[in-house]
């Protein structure tokens, strides 16, 4: 073998083994040396011909690696796609809304509420820039969310391989005395659930819409509670008179978020199960119960409303008798009761629907 041939072979083998895990490199390298020299000796072909017959080193390296080449396999892919959709909606929409609302409120209020004709262009430009910035932020949030979900599923995929191998081993030891006919691991037609009645099915779209709105609301509450305010122009700036008691926000927020979270869990269960039945019924009863309990605490036991709302607003609205008249009726306790009534109605309606559909169509 000439020196040139040697060099060629070395290069080829390097191109293969550099793609392999460390512990395989040395042995595969020896193996390929043996193979290539054998091919040349036995077939009487040249080094170029032998290497051409072995083909692209990248493909050969691929064959040496028995691990699958997909990031997320078919088993998880469907779930993964649903997750990506939901997470994208839940990250991009709230971020975009928060950002652009902020821009519109701060930039636009002057123009629209004050009739500030001096600088409408400047305000409009600032709004456009703000919305554009919000879109960019939403894009970044979407990318981050996409990456995070993908990462989690890649881990699942890798772990699954291990888990399955483990399960297989355990199964072999445990079932040695079983008859061969029964040795069918995993899927068996007998475990197939019956097809649910169309009326018992839960619309995935509804669940997703609910989840997205809950998350939007939650994000606003956490990051921009001042949006729930009366917005008034104040000279060159904008004054927010918050509806909620932002001074006690650190106490209130956890209850709010927990209550929303209960709703999210409920929606997630519905999405996962997809059919009215015991699981959805139990989850709905628990989650709605928790939501309701938290709402009662929030509205009746905690200082929920901004105690100065009416006074502050009244002070700035001097002159507008009609609005002032309305404000005079503002009463936190009454508002709490009204809101609570609405929540109670919603909870009862939802629970009632679930109970009805479960009893009527669902599989208990």
């Amino acid at each position: 073998m000439t020196e040139k041939d040697q060099e060629l072979m070395k290069r080829y083998i390097y191109q293969v083994v550099r793609r392999l895990p460390q512990e395989q490199k040395e042995e595969v390298s020896l193996e390929l040396q043996e193979l290539i020299t054998d091919m040349i000796e036995e077939k009487g072909i040249s080094m170029e011909e032998a290497l051409a017959k072995l083909g692209d080193p990248a493909r050969l390296a691929e064959r040496y690696q028995d691990a699958s080449h997909c990031l997320i396999g078919p088993e998880y892919y469907d779930t993964y796609r649903w997750f990506v959709k939901i997470v994208l909606l839940c990250s991009m929409i709230p971020v975009f809304l928060t950002g652009s609302l902020d821009a519109v409120l701060t930039g636009g209020t002057r123009v629209w509420m004050l009739g500030d004709s001096l600088m409408p262009e400047a305000a409009a430009v600032s709004v456009i820039f703000g919305v554009f910035g919000a879109a960019l932020e939403a894009l970044a949030a979407g990318l981050t969310a996409f990456g995070a979900v993908t990462f989690v599923f890649v881990i699942l995929e890798r772990q699954k391989v291990k888990l399955e191998k483990k399960a297989e081993k355990e199964w072999k030891v445990g079932d040695l005395e079983e008859s061969p006919a029964r040795r069918v691991p995993g899927f068996a037609p007998g475990v197939l659930p019956s097809v649910p009645s169309p009326k018992a099915r839960i619309s995935r779209g509804d669940c997703i819409v609910e989840i997205v709105f809950t998350v939007i609301f939650g994000v606003l509450l956490v990051f921009a509670p001042h949006f729930f305010s009366a917005v008034l122009p104040d000279g060159d700036t904008v004054t927010f008179i918050p509806l909620f008691n932002l001074e006690q926000w650190s106490v209130l927020l956890p209850f709010f978020v927990l209550s929303l979270f209960a709703g999210l869990v409920d929606d997630a269960v519905r999405l996962a199960v997809g059919v009215y039945g015991k699981a959805v019924l139990v989850s709905s009863l628990i989650c709605n119960g928790v939501s309701l309990a938290l709402s009662v605490i929030l509205l009746k036991a905690l200082p929920f409303w901004n105690p100065n709302f009416a006074a502050d607003l009244g002070a700035r609205l001097s002159g507008d008798e009609e609005l002032l008249g309305l404000l005079a009726h503002w009463d936190g306790g009454l508002a709490s009761n009204l809101l609570l009534a609405v929540i109670l109605f919603a909870v009862l309606l939802d629970t009632g629907t679930v109970v009805y559909k479960t009893l009527r169509y669902g599989a208990l």
Binding site: L30, E31, L35, D38, M39, E42, K53, R59, L60
Partner: protein, 114 residues
Amino acid sequence: MGEEKDLLAGLVLELRRGTLILSVLSQMAEAKYGYALVQSLEEKGVEIDPNTLYPLLRRLEKQGLLASRWDTGGSKPRKYYQRTAYGNDIYEELKKQWRQISAGIEALMEEEEG
């Protein structure tokens, strides 16, 4: 025409892929090094690309069907593979399966040919 050829080639490849392990295991009662295996298969009319065979041998070893040892006595180091006891069991089992499949397919084709 070219498409048809590609399709056929792909289908043949798929058909052969399934039989590869059986072919390889059949030759491994005695220790053989890789290229000798390529030749002994070729002699019997079973073609196999070395670039498929070598990774396959490693995989079968990893699965415990084959065992390997390096022989450094000759003119150059050679890796010899041989069936393990577990490999023997699996091979016997695979043989049975193959005969069943082959008989089944044969029957299907005969029926079709009338």
